[in-house]
């Protein structure tokens, strides 16, 4: 038995950390958030493509590296509260792959970083199990209104969930209307898309459901891994700050009440680490257990990150509430990731379903 990553994956993780610390540290992330209208760093996206990162969620035979590698990279993305559509593109690329040959042209362009494609699925602004879809794609014509499409205003193509299945809609088609839907996470860009025009149905009802189940699992795992990274880094920032900051003549990190809070932050974070990597390993090696373990990982990592990143703000005191210090970047992203990719409420239900309850 071994919990630590093997050498290859360790290397991948370290490489990712080096790259992100260099290219997407909190100053860079802040610049993207404040200035880039697209909400991401196009040059960095191209670098990620070049280094093969955009193929990460594909099956191994198509250039992917399995769930453990995916988790390791996502973990690092979480550590920098990475802004941009990286996960969204991975999920779309996997769906395009699974949709079969017709979709592989777009898949290849997405993986090469030539086209930005995301999934467009949600039709309600509530956190409810999706009811009947209204989006339809009949006779090559798409009619759809989708909510909170990630980076939808700047995508080159969307893969749309419709009543008939999954449809590719490339831009600029006529009838592509995007309305920005800014959320409290200033570094994630969502949009309402109103689509009316030609599109290509690439997977019918049943296959589409199977594809989306795979995507949902990968999404939940990836979000959980990012949440782990957020918690880990938020705790590190807190330890560093409280060791420096003094009150009553001593570092505030020497106060026992604060120490106990940090101990609880560690408990939550380390437990997230165990849960996330065990789920990832199960996806690769123990598929029968994976549904439950992925849901468990996200259902733990989400509330844990909310709590840990919230504590990071609190224990930073006044500066924790400022834009200038980093804790809010982590807190906001924790909130986004907890609410999306299967909210905690949905994951809890999924855990029960996985047990037949």
């Amino acid at each position: 038995m071994q919990f630590e990553l093997d050498e290859d994956r360790s290397l991948l993780k370290q490489q990712t950390r080096d790259l992100l610390e260099r290219e997407s540290g909190s100053e860079a992330a802040r610049a993207v958030m404040e200035q880039a209208p697209e909400g991401y760093d196009k040059a960095l996206h191209a670098t990620l493509a070049e280094l093969g990162y955009l193929a990460l969620a594909l099956p191994e035979e198509a250039g992917g590296m399995g769930a453990v590698s995916l988790a390791a990279v996502m973990h690092e993305m979480g550590r920098t509260a990475f802004p941009g559509p990286y996960l969204d593109v991975l999920l779309a690329s996997r769906a395009l792959h699974d949709a079969g040959a017709e979709a592989h042209g777009l898949r290849d362009r997405v993986v090469a970083g030539e086209a930005l494609c995301v999934l467009a699925r949600r039709e309600t602004l509530d956190d409810l199990s999706s009811t009947e879809l209204t989006a339809s794609c009949a006779d090559g014509r798409l009619e759809a209104t989708k909510q909170l499409v990630p980076f939808g205003a700047h995508a080159d193509a969307v893969l749309v969930e419709t009543r008939e299945g999954l449809a590719i809609c490339e831009r600029p088609a006529a009838g592509w209307e995007a309305n920005a839907q800014p959320t409290l996470d200033h570094a994630q860009r969502f949009a309402e898309l109103r689509l009316s025009g030609p599109a290509q149905l690439v997977a019918g009802g049943d296959p589409a459901r199977g594809i989306l189940e795979t995507v949902d699992r990968l999404a939940a795992l990836s979000a959980a891994a990012q949440l782990l990274g957020l918690s880990e880094r938020a705790l590190e920032l807190t330890l560093a700050y409280t060791a420096e900051r003094e009150a009553f003549g001593v570092p505030i990190a020497s106060f026992q009440a604060l120490q106990h809070r940090c101990a609880d932050m560690l408990l939550q974070t380390e437990s997230a680490r165990s849960a996330v990597y065990r789920a990832a390993w199960a996806l690769d090696h123990e598929p029968a257990a994976a549904d439950e373990l992925v849901a468990v990982a996200k259902a733990w990592a989400g509330p844990a990150a909310r709590s840990v990143c919230g504590e990071a703000i609190q224990l930073h005191g006044g500066v924790g509430f400022t834009w200038e210090y980093d804790p809010h970047l982590f807190f906001k992203r924790a909130n986004t990731l907890e609410q999306f990719h299967g909210s905690t409420r949905q994951q809890l239900e999924a855990v029960l379903q996985a047990r037949g309850l």
């Binding site: 409810l128 920005a180 839907q181 800014p182 604060l258 006044g318 809010h328």
Partner: protein, 391 residues
Amino acid sequence: MDLAFTTEQEAFRRDLKSWLAANLARPWNDEIRNPSHDENSLVEVRRAWQRQLNDAGYLGMGWPAEWGGRGASVVEQAILEEELWRADAPQVPNFLGIDLLGPALIHHGSEEQRRRFIPKMLAADEIWCQGFSEPGSGSDLASLSTRAEPDGEHFRITGQKVWTTFGPWSDWIFVLARTDAEDRYGGITFFLVPIDQPGVEVRSIRQITGESEFGETFFDGALARREHIVGKIGEGWRIAMTVLGYERGVQTMAYPARFEGYLSDVIEGVRRNGTLGRADVREKLARLIVENQVMRSNGLRTLANLAAGESPGPESSIEKIFWSEYAKRQSETALDLLGPQAQLTTEARHARPDMDWAREFLWARAGTIYSGSSEIQRNIIAKRVLRMPTK
């Protein structure tokens, strides 16, 4: 035991409500969503509102008539604060001046100081901000290092203050500065300093909500006149501490009113999204209602004690922890129950017109930090209420 308001107090509330209905042009929530506003114009809305309140005699109500007050009881003041929240009125821009500096001048200032500063403060002709906290002294306020050195008829002030709420729009700042480096408490003096002078620079601090209500204020040999010292040299700490206690209790009914309003929005939201019947949703709503009612019960108790002439001792630490920690739970529950809708900021096309949960979710994080963090409040409770030993 008697938790009822008197006939006079009820009459005061009725009059106030009529006045508010007639005079408040629109609720604050509508103002801040008006796209034609920017931060500066919103301050002007608040300034105008303060003048309306002042003209109607609702500001500084508890002060002597001579200084614009009407000797109102603490209960009436609490009713005022409660109804202002219920009506979603703008907060007056000079709230720190009125809550803290006003009482300081009335109790510790000179006649000249009162005459010079109070009328303009009430009329919002001069906006005040507070210069107590420093970057190096948050929880440990007495360790402040901003220094004031005598220079003829003036003192020259050098140092840095933070969390100067409304700093960017202020005309004056009241400052605690060190006049004796050796005497931790007795070496602090309370100065009134004009901001529009070469030695003072105010910078905005951007908050995690994206707004910049706070500022930091840099003093580089800024001039304060000797006659603008409140109390005597070296009395600053004592004055600041008593003044910080004066206004406690007056907000005691405002917090539950504020959060009760927000809570109604959550209830409406789950009704709209069809989940009001779900047992998990019902449990979460019920817990919020319970906590809110308990907060109100605590508030009534504090108010009753104040009305009975007891001082609001360190027990006010309990109230501070209660409302600020509740605010976090409430906004988190709102986000959980209302779903992605509640993530949208006001600029979003589908943002709901009633409650800005995205902002409240972030803003609630400040409550447990400012005015003495929850950790400081727990220290106070342990030491001063429970009398637990120090090592």
